[in-house]
């Protein structure tokens, strides 16, 4: 038991998380999905993120699911993200199924729940494809083209840059707390609870210096942005045009749309025939 928990803790070290997140963001620029135009991908996502919610047809949903599963495979998404996806989908609906059984439901409850699972899985796989497949700068340009508030597209590109630094700083603060303190021994049940409470306390305390440091950093960021004329640039049409000039729809994009359309129409046909 102890070894198991240690093993899990080893796997979930901050370095591991950092690597996975960075890999997810910048690690796969050479895939088919990453080469597509962000505007096309966002429109594609809009379809696969919304339409499944409105359909109760199991065959149609299954077809959509298979398709987005294929695109997720193409996008070469990091393992951790897929693991979290599976955990999220199956823990949610599995739990619901068990409780339904408990309240006297029978096998008739399985079918609606299966449909619900397919819906949730399709929608989240579509989002994994789009948001992990694209690199952040492309994504924020695509969002900007659609007229999403400047703050959001700024946040996306800022987040990817600041996150590694923030994580490193958080880790340093945590380590320095650990060096200076004497943790309770994790022996026995009460000892384990005490140890856990200690860990949680350290994490919460670590946010005190982190808040002060980040406050300083965000002031610097905003001041630099002001010097570069960020707020003017955000509202200026010319700047926007310059930033978006890199976007181009190629024949590959059209092909992607056409293949998606073909697949959807085939499953429409199959679901009406059956």
């Amino acid at each position: 038991m102890k070894r198991l928990s240690e093993n899990i803790l080893d796997k979930f070290s901050i370095d591991f998380l950092k690597n996975q997140v960075l890999k997810n963001a910048y690690g796969n620029n050479d895939t088919v999905i990453a080469a597509l135009d962000p505007r096309v991908l966002l429109a594609w996502y809009l379809f696969f993120g919304i339409v499944p919610w409105f359909s109760h047809n199991a065959i149609f949903l299954l077809g959509c699911f298979l398709f987005v599963a294929a695109t997720t495979r193409l996008a070469k998404v990091a393992g951790l993200v897929l693991f979290l996806f599976a955990l999220g989908v199956f823990s949610q609906t599995g739990y619901l199924l068990i409780v339904t059984m408990f309240f006297g439901g029978d096998s008739s409850a399985i079918m609606p729940l299966l449909v619900l699972t397919l819906k949730v899985a399709t929608v989240s796989l579509a989002s994994i494809t789009v948001f992990s497949g694209l690199d952040p700068d492309k994504l924020s340009n695509g969002l900007m083209w659609y007229g999403v508030p400047e703050r959001l597209s700024f946040s996306v590109s800022y987040a990817y840059r600041i996150l590694p630094m923030l994580m490193e700083e958080f880790q340093n603060v945590l380590l320095s707390y650990r060096l200076r303190s004497n943790p309770p021994k994790p022996c026995g049940f009460i000892g384990k609870i005490k140890y856990l409470a200690y860990q949680v306390k350290v994490v919460i305390q670590a946010f005190y210096p982190l808040m002060l440091n980040t406050a300083k950093r965000s002031r610097t960021t905003v001041e630099v942005l002001e010097i570069k004329g960020y707020r003017y640039a955000a509202s200026s049409r010319e700047v926007r045009k310059m930033r978006l000039s890199s976007l181009k729809i190629t024949s590959g994009d059209l092909m992607f749309i056409a293949v998606s359309f073909l697949w959807v129409s085939i499953i429409c046909l199959v679901s009406t025939v059956i």
Partner: protein, 280 residues
């Protein structure tokens, strides 16, 4: 000029936004990645570190801190990890914003620990309740013949209600109220100069829950629910259109033919342009 020092100007608001976004975003990223552990039926999840935006909303401009927190969660833990869930995210965004903003506006004097505690737990409760209501509605809409499936309605009410209560009492008090009470007085007067502001006092304009805020919150929440309602209506509309078409199968065949033509034409154009490039 002197009077306006307590109210933040727009670049200071941006600072608060960036601060709240990056801190809360990173924290939610961790909570998304750290596995939950269960003791019996009670799930002890470190649901979120809501104390960070709560603290910032109490110390600074509540609106910017609230928007920053919601954006941070959206960008860091949803978009970066590719877990963007479409409709559900709108609800989360709105409920986090409202919860944090109400908590921030409730506090008049950040040194008053009692008020800070009450505000923190209110913020969490508001946010959780909204989430629960929308969750129940979502299952009702997504599952056809919700009432007809034996045992499902009760199970949804029980699991959602229990999760909500658990989150308010466990995560709410332990991870939001207590840290906020500890952090606010500690940071008060220290963090404001770093952003070039004066500490918030009793007569700052930002505090106070006005009727306008309450009405605004109700409207925003109605929009969150409205998104779900619209989904249901949208579905009926699609069905209606399909029945209006003479035959669904004929329509589907037409779609397949059109799609095949499109794919073939594109493939031809592509191969032509490629060969053209090679020869040139």
């Amino acid at each position: 000029m002197q009077k306006n020092l307590t109210a933040a100007n727009s670049s200071q608001k941006l600072m608060v936004f960036v601060l709240s976004m990056s801190l809360y975003g990173m924290a939610t990223l961790f909570t998304e990645l750290i596995p939950k552990f269960q003791v019996g039926i009670v799930e002890f999840s470190v649901e979120y570190f809501l104390f960070i935006p709560l603290t910032l909303a109490i110390l600074f401009d509540p609106m910017s801190a609230a928007l920053g927190a919601a954006t941070g969660e959206l960008v860091f833990s949803e978009i970066m990890l590719g877990q963007f869930g479409g409709l559900g995210e709108l609800e989360k965004f709105i409920s986090v914003t409202i919860g944090v903003m109400i908590a921030g506006k409730m506090v008049k004097d950040p040194t008053n620990k009692k008020m800070v505690g009450i505000a923190a737990i209110t913020g969490v409760a508001v946010q959780q309740l909204m989430g629960t209501i929308v969750d129940i509605l979502k299952v009702q809409f997504a599952v056809e013949d919700f009432e007809a499936v034996a045992g499902l309605p009760e199970s949804v009410y029980i699991t959602e209600g229990f999760a909500c209560l658990n989150d308010i009492l466990f995560s709410g008090i332990l991870f939001c109220m207590i840290p906020t009470i500890l952090l606010v007085p500690k940071l008060y007067g220290k963090i404001e100069p770093l952003l070039g502001m004066k500490p918030r006092t009793k007569d700052s304009i930002v505090s106070g829950v006005s009727p306008k805020l309450v009405i605004g919150s109700v409207i925003a929440f109605a929009i969150a629910i409205g998104a779900e309602m619209l989904a249901e209506n949208g579905m009926a509309l699609i069905d209606w259109e399909a029945s209006w078409a003479e035959s669904k199968t004929a329509l589907a065949i037409g779609m397949v033919v059109a799609a095949v033509i499109a794919v073939v034409v594109l493939a031809v154009i592509r191969s032509k342009s490629n060969s053209g490039k090679e020869s040139a």
